[in-house]
Symmetry: C2
């Protein structure tokens, strides 16, 4: 089958709502939120069912047409931007919430459902899908799964991977792997669904999933602490885990480089004076009442034993929001460094203290004007770094990336905590993955997508098929 | 390289402690706890490091010698019992606890460490590795990982998979995949470690792991409830999740077929009269104090609204143990049906009510003397079933298995919740996995172990290499 034959067959099979000719492609299928613009695709496919996804992929496979999959298109690493000669496969019409089982605390959904739509539907039933992130209004559950999204509650509920109970995926040749069972315990050979979680669509297309839910938490209380040393930050984390147990739902740390800027940008009286080395934001959530009391006990303890030099606890929902605000304006804080190079990395917690000054020194060696901010989900080992790039020296963009990713590798970290690799971080993957690991990924690609058609060139360099 | 050359090279490389000639093989490397006895292996290898595992596997690969991996040899599906012509690879000398990081709440261990040894070491530091199961005194962490062990606390902490942060594994050709990073967030391509968790050693040998820890819980309280209908059991589970949140650490259900026998066998006054259709055992664990109060609130509510017809709450550690005793004597209860055919299956919770009478009817159709017991970790969808096999009709063993696994498949369940497939359940795998899924597992086997040397014939039928 040649390309023209395949396109005609796809058009016939998917109909006018499911097949958009390439030359009529709407702008939204071409760009990402950073403004990167891709090539005009051969067509945009919008299948309405798993069966249609399977049929469409089988045709593309027969004709050897590469396919790029799109969810909510909120990714930051250029994965979904079409390359020359690709077909776009959008899951946007597969957006049904098929079933909610409140006894088992599970939901079965199609992969195109928007995260916020799911959250709102569950909220009405007293349940919660614990995943939450800034892109909630656009990102889809399928995209969350393909990228193993993290977000704000990882310390308590884990990454998306921890929330997927069952999964249906379609391989490059159209084979449907139906692993959609609502079973927490299912030790029957290789757990195939894991292959499709976090692998950014290079091994298959996620079509439906069974998700783990939790009861909607009752009380939620936030405190902000100032600390004099990183050893004290670690001590506070240890004590917070100990005293709050399953009630600890956030442990965010802001270095003063971030906090001072955030206070200025927020433009209100700072809840604690800036100028201390570290600030930790702790959130406790409890099933019923009682979360506030546990958090108060913790604060009393850490103020008494000197772990924390100053602390404030929110007394109302509005005060909760005001404290979170300092962390939530991170986009504005990073923007204040514009032009800025942002990083989303993980580090072993014991390595963080030494990493941060090494990072600051490394970028200032490139140019002394390279200002930095540091903050992150410390309880998860995840740091966000921002580096000012001197506007008169555009070549420093690459130098800053090389320096930072190199350092992250040296300190045993990950060059991508949450955002993934896609196209834009592919060249830096060897800083986090060994030659042997990358070879194993290629072996899996060859085994499951031997023609290298799915999300070609994302994560892994495109090599000739074996 | 031929077999004799490889054996000489292995002996030289591993030395007298690391290489035991086949003819001197100790009985313990040959049998399982059900008494199955395997073939005499070519040799028993006991490497002391990842490097030695890698070197040994490279030699076996060069000579085409199949290898069976052994941890604590507590498996129930014949995986570790040697087959004709195999070499035994025992991880027993790799039993070091390499690092405990109490801030990050992670431990780095070698795969041969015995679970109980790890538990005891952590207990002394105020930490807990949440995995716990009856075989704790013999089973190894590497075996727990390879089989994705479940156990008693899955409803709160998940399966072993959820507790593995980093993993080092060795492929059939000796390639070491070093994914030993202590990073919760690490979205850098395919998460290779997932391939080795729960796949029963057919894709690689687990050598070291970074494990997630939690603070040792404070208070622990147990209650027992009697219920009149399965709808009420589901209602109780829903309310327990809602009110106890992260404090709910067990939700076990006993059908009366089990409970009546358990009370007789325990030989003490029953905490609640037998004869009700269902009994639920609920455990709440809290970081500090407060767990008992939440559980008392729950019981008051469910007694008032009629969900539960009778209930008793433990007032002391001894009373906790007495209630757990009824669940913990499951081995004796199943033994009272001897000869018995035991099952470890999962079912969607909404399917359980109809499944159980269908199961009872199906086995009584085979022989009206087929008595049954039913109990399990209901909160996880995991049921344990026991069926009396009439001793004068040994052929019913196979018929009972076929009937039960067939029914489990029909009801959308899993033929193995926890124990795995190994050799003994291999023929029944198609009841839980589709043809396409099994083909995908073979594709992975071909990709990562092209000579089919690792745990050959376990999980998947041995096919000629492609």
């Amino acid at each position: 089958m040649d390309t023209a034959q395949a396109l005609r067959a796809l058009q016939e099979r998917l109909g006018p709502r499911g097949y958009l000719p390439g030359q009529e492609t709407d702008e939204r299928y071409l760009v990402d939120i950073k403004g990167t613009r891709g090539a005009m695709p051969l067509a945009v496919l919008r299948p309405a069912s798993t069966q249609e996804v399977s049929g469409a992929l089988a045709l593309c496979h027969a004709a050897g047409i590469p396919v790029v999959t799109q969810g909510g298109r909120t990714g930051l690493v250029q994965s979904h931007v079409p390359c020359e000669g690709e077909i776009v496969l959008s899951l946007e019409r597969m957006n049904a919430i098929e079933n909610i089982d409140s006894d088992a605390a599970m939901a079965t959904v199609q992969s195109g459902v928007v995260l916020q739509a799911l959250q709102e539907r569950l909220d009405a039933e007293g349940l919660m899908f614990p995943l939450d992130l800034g892109a909630r209004g656009s990102c889809t559950v399928g995209g969350n799964i393909s990228t193993n999204a993290g977000g704000n509650r990882v310390i308590r509920y884990g990454m998306t991977r921890d929330l997927v109970v069952g999964l249906e995926a379609v391989l490059a040749d159209g084979t449907v792997l139906d692993g959609l069972k609502p079973l927490v315990k299912n030790n029957t050979g290789v757990d195939l669904k894991q292959l499709f979680i976090g692998s950014e669509g290079i091994l298959g297309v996620v079509t439906r999933a069974v998700l783990r839910l939790v009861p909607k938490p009752g009380e939620r209380t936030v405190a902000l602490c100032a600390l004099g040393s990183f050893g004290q930050v670690r001590g506070l984390l240890r004590q917070a885990r100990q005293r709050l147990g399953g009630e600890l739902t956030a442990f965010e740390v802001m270095w003063d480089s971030y906090f001072s800027r955030a206070v200025r940008i927020a433009g209100k009286a700072a809840p604690l004076p800036a100028g201390q080395p570290y600030y930790a934001l702790i959130e406790a959530s409890s099933a019923g009442a009682g979360g506030a009391a546990s958090l108060e006990d913790l604060l009393q303890q850490v103020l008494e034993d000197g772990t924390v030099s100053d602390a404030v606890i929110a007394k109302s929902g509005a005060e909760n929001e005001a404290l979170w605000k300092l962390r939530d304006i991170s986009v504005e804080v990073t923007r204040s460094l514009m032009p800025a190079v942002p990083f989303d990395v993980s580090l072993p917690i014991p390595a963080m203290e030494a990493f941060v000054p090494a990072f600051e020194a490394a970028v200032r060696t490139i140019d002394p004007r390279c200002d930095t901010v540091v903050y992150g989900h410390l309880g998860d080992g995840n740091l966000h770094l921002g580096v000012h790039q001197p506007p008169d020296r555009p070549e420093t963009f690459q130098a800053i990336q090389e320096a930072v990713y190199g350092l992250v590798g040296e300190y045993g970290g990950s060059i991508s905590a949450e955002h993934g690799i896609g196209v834009s971080k592919r060249e830096f993957l060897p800083h986090s993955r060994s030659r042997e690991e990358i070879a194993a990924m290629h072996a899996l690609k060859n085994a499951l997508d031997p023609k290298h058609l799915l999300n070609r060139g994302r994560v892994l360099e495109h090599r000739a098929a074996p």
